[in-house]
């Protein structure tokens, strides 16, 4: 291939250096909304592992705990076992459909407000303003020489970055073990190596992604902006510069000199100055726009100062943009939010949620799985009876010990016993004690008269003997020698 050259004959650059983004502080309703979301999401992230939840003596008292070692997932009063992982899958599907719903209704609201990359970038940009000052001071410092002041400020800033990053990494591991114990272990060097590794990794990624890569993650790395274009339609809300109202741009002075010749945009560049991804919204919808709406706040502020109506930059659908351009008025927000597409997404979302809640309420906490031993399928006993062996897996998913009966039905003349028991005196049921929150595996011997079909289905069932009789049952096969064997 020929070397990449443009028409000017200059070799195209091998790479593009990141253009610095120094967003200016802004105030307004969307900024206050963003503060609120940041406070709530960060509080949830850092705080959740410290909520206590009493589950009795046989289970941990942490409200949200992913106990990988014991393969349990606790979330308040819900306890998920590995075989119930479909609930987690269901939650993930709900999260996916939820993203579709949010995107089709209000565009990239996830990107603009709730995405961790956005929240942490916002936090780090606030640190920038705290240490270096607002936009202009930041630009001056970045372009200036490495004076003592710059070194000191950079050092302080990176130190704060690192502290936030470390706190973020540290909070993550608290979800996987008892938080107070792990904190003590962590600082005394007793925690597992994987804990230190995870904290180091997440500290590094938070430091790099939040401190330095920022909008580059959204523009170059994240697949979601690409997928979103398929989720949106002409009725999705976008942050829109209303060019039909703003153009041609001109300063207030020019507009006073030539009334009617200029639009509302006074070309003050405040929308560009406040943008956390460094784009110019007046160029139209683009992949760099995460629809955080800070430019709306900035523009509304300027419009108020110059005495023009707000909303030169505003949330607007493509349909409404066309209508307004033609001189009409857009549809009320209620109407754009409730249309078939969003209602279908919402219906799917609620259906999955309701189905999961329903099945959570219905699930038994005493589960039985039976396996017929195949080697040998049957054993000829000396008195003419035939014995089959079964492996039972009994899950006691409650955090208390249980007494249960395992009963055989549909197999005339059967006798059931376990390894601890004996055939003498065996009946059609055995009684077992199950440890709390555990799986009990045991071998079950079942003998039945030798006369009968070569293959016979029967039922093994469990039932609680301590108040809650709900249990589980399995239909399984009993084998006898074929005639002539």
């Amino acid at each position: 291939m020929a070397s990449p050259e443009d028409l000017s004959g200059q070799p195209a650059p091998l790479y593009e250096a990141r253009k610095g983004v120094y967003p200016k502080a802004v105030n307004g309703p969307f900024r206050r909304f963003k503060w609120a979301i940041m406070a709530v999401t960060l509080a949830i992230y850092y705080g959740t592992p410290w909520i206590r939840w009493d589950r009795g003596p046989y289970a941990p008292d942490q409200a949200v705990l992913v106990d990988l070692a014991n393969r349990r997932f606790y979330m308040f009063q819900i306890e998920i076992w590995p075989h119930e992982f479909y609930y987690v899958a269901g939650l993930l599907i709900m999260a996916g459909v939820g993203l579709f719903l949010v995107t089709s209704a209000v565009g990239r609201a996830w990107c603009g407000y709730a995405c961790p990359q956005t929240v942490w970038t916002d936090l780090f940009q606030h640190v920038d303003r705290l240490v270096d000052g607002d936009r202009n001071a930041q630009v001056r410092l970045a372009k200036g020489p490495w004076t003592f002041e710059k070194v000191a400020k950079r050092g302080l800033k990176y130190l704060i970055y690192l502290a936030i990053a470390f706190w973020t990494g540290g909070a993550w591991i608290m979800y996987f073990a008892d938080a107070p114990t792990l904190t003590a272990d962590f600082w005394t060097g007793q925690a597992a190596p994987v804990a230190y590794g995870t904290v180091a990794l997440l500290t590094a990624t938070t430091f790099i992604l939040g401190g330095f890569l920022r909008e580059q993650v959204c523009v170059y790395m994240c697949p979601w902006p690409r997928i979103q274009t398929a989720m949106m339609d002409e009725k999705s809300l976008l942050v829109t510069y209303k060019d039909w109202r703003g153009e041609p741009r001109g300063s207030v002075k020019k507009a006073m000199a030539h009334p009617g010749a200029f639009g509302d945009c006074i070309d003050c560049n405040q929308c560009v100055a406040v943008c956390p991804t460094g784009i110019d919204i007046r160029e139209g919808p683009q992949i760099g726009c995460i629809t955080c709406a800070l430019c709306i706040d900035a523009c509304d502020g300027v419009m108020a100062q110059v005495g023009r109506p707000r909303g030169l930059i505003d949330y607007c659908t493509l349909d409404d943009a066309a209508t307004e351009k033609a001189g009409g008025t857009g549809q009320p927000i209620r109407k754009t939010l409730t249309r078939p597409r969003t209602l279908i997404y919402f219906g799917v979302w609620t259906a999955i949620g309701t189905a999961m809640l329903f099945s959570l309420g219905q699930r038994t906490r005493l589960d039985l799985a039976v396996q017929h031993e195949r080697s040998p399928l049957y054993v000829q006993l000396s008195d003419g009876h035939v014995r089959n062996n079964y492996t039972l897996k009994l899950r006691n998913m409650e955090t208390r010990p249980r007494r249960v009966a395992v009963t055989v039905s549909g197999l005339p003349g059967a006798a059931v016993w376990t390894e601890d028991g004996a055939r003498e005196g065996a009946g059609q049921a055995v009684t077992l004690t199950l440890s709390p929150d555990s799986v009990t595996r045991l071998k079950l011997f079942i003998a039945a008269p030798g006369a009968g079909p070569a293959r016979q289905d029967f039922t093994i069932s469990t039932r609680g003997l301590d108040g809650d009789p709900r249990g589980d049952s399995d239909i399984i096969q009993f084998d006898r020698p074929e005639a002539g064997q």
Binding site: A2, S375, Q380, D383, G384
Partner: protein, 307 residues
């Protein structure tokens, strides 16, 4: 496809010069951090090739400065596991086999260890689940035992084997070849077969079985018992039950009396250590036919002090 690079108006970026039905591709420069990441992977690759086994040679490969190998990892894991198991194995070694059932955790460990050993040494004859092979090797899962099914008896059988000519303590007995050696004639063997099938309730009593009863009394009862209840000190099977190692039909019984098999099992005390034998015995005991209680050794002691 002509190379026609130009600057795209909307983006100000050069195109790569290819055009397919009006569709062109922008030659957007990569971000700088991407390039750094790319260089970092090259450095990583070089470091890896030096530190770890990487380049194939004719008969081997470069070993790497760290000297790591997956075989070494396996060796370490095996050694660590042996260390982990050591206390359990020691405890099993220190416990008499008859005391194992009283210690459920130890018994469970022994059964698991025995299952592993069984898969290596025993399945060739006794089958994967210990079901045996019809007319060749006995089932270890049923409730009928030639030489005894309590823990101590099983352990003795596994340790010393059955009919090992080179071993003094081996379990041994010899059923005479009544037909081949002319001790009984064909008609007499037929009568004995009738009697055996009558006491195992496969045939009704007849004149033939009545004649057979007398022959049985004279020739068989010394080992198999007066009523055919079997004799474990000789490994003489019970003849009144539904379990027949070599078949319970007329032809099979005739063949057995004419020329018995006198089956052989190798002893394992010269191949396996005592702990493995103990664990194997616990596993066989757990297969479903294990006989509870201690064998009353003094009372049923055989001629060689066998339990």
């Amino acid at each position: 496809m002509a190379e026609q690079k130009r600057i795209d108006e909307a983006t100000g970026t050069s195109t790569v010069g290819h055009e397919w039905d009006g569709i062109e591709e922008l030659d957007t420069p990569m971000p700088r951090w991407w390039l750094w990441t790319f260089y970092a992977t090259i450095v990583w690759g070089l470091a890896y090739a030096v530190l770890y086994p990487a380049w194939p040679l004719v008969n081997s490969a470069t070993e790497g400065v760290l000297g790591w190998s997956s075989r070494g990892d396996l060796y370490k894991e095996m050694r660590a596991d042996a260390l982990r198991r050591a206390p359990t194995v020691g405890a099993i070694a220190a416990t008499a086999i008859t005391d194992l059932p009283a210690k459920p955790e130890l018994m469970q460990a022994a059964v698991q260890g025995g299952a592993a050993a069984f898969r290596v040494h025993c399945v060739q004859c006794h089958g994967a689940g210990g079901a045996g092979v019809k007319k060749l090797y006995p089932s270890l899962t049923d409730d009928d035992w030639l030489w005894g099914g309590d823990l101590a008896s099983i352990q003795y059988t596994v340790t010393h084997g059955i009919r090992n000519p080179d071993h003094k303590d081996t379990r041994t007995s010899l059923m005479p070849a009544f037909g081949r050696d002319g001790i009984l004639d064909a008609a007499q063997i037929g009568d004995v077969v009738s009697f055996v099938r009558a006491i195992s309730r496969q045939e009704r009593a007849s004149a033939s079985s009545a004649r057979g009863a007398a022959l049985f009394e004279a020739n068989c009862a010394v080992c198999h018992g007066a009523g055919g209840e079997g004799g474990r000190q000789f490994g003489a099977p019970k003849l009144t039950d539904a379990i027949w190692l070599y078949g319970g039909d007329r032809d099979s019984l005739t063949a057995t009396i004419t020329q018995p098999r006198n089956g052989v099992m190798p002893r394992w005390n010269n191949r396996l250590d005592p702990v493995t034998i103990k664990m194997l015995s616990a596993y066989v005991y757990s297969l479903g036919g294990g006989e509870k209680g201690l064998a009353p050794v003094a009372k049923e002691q055989g001629v060689d002090g066998q339990p």
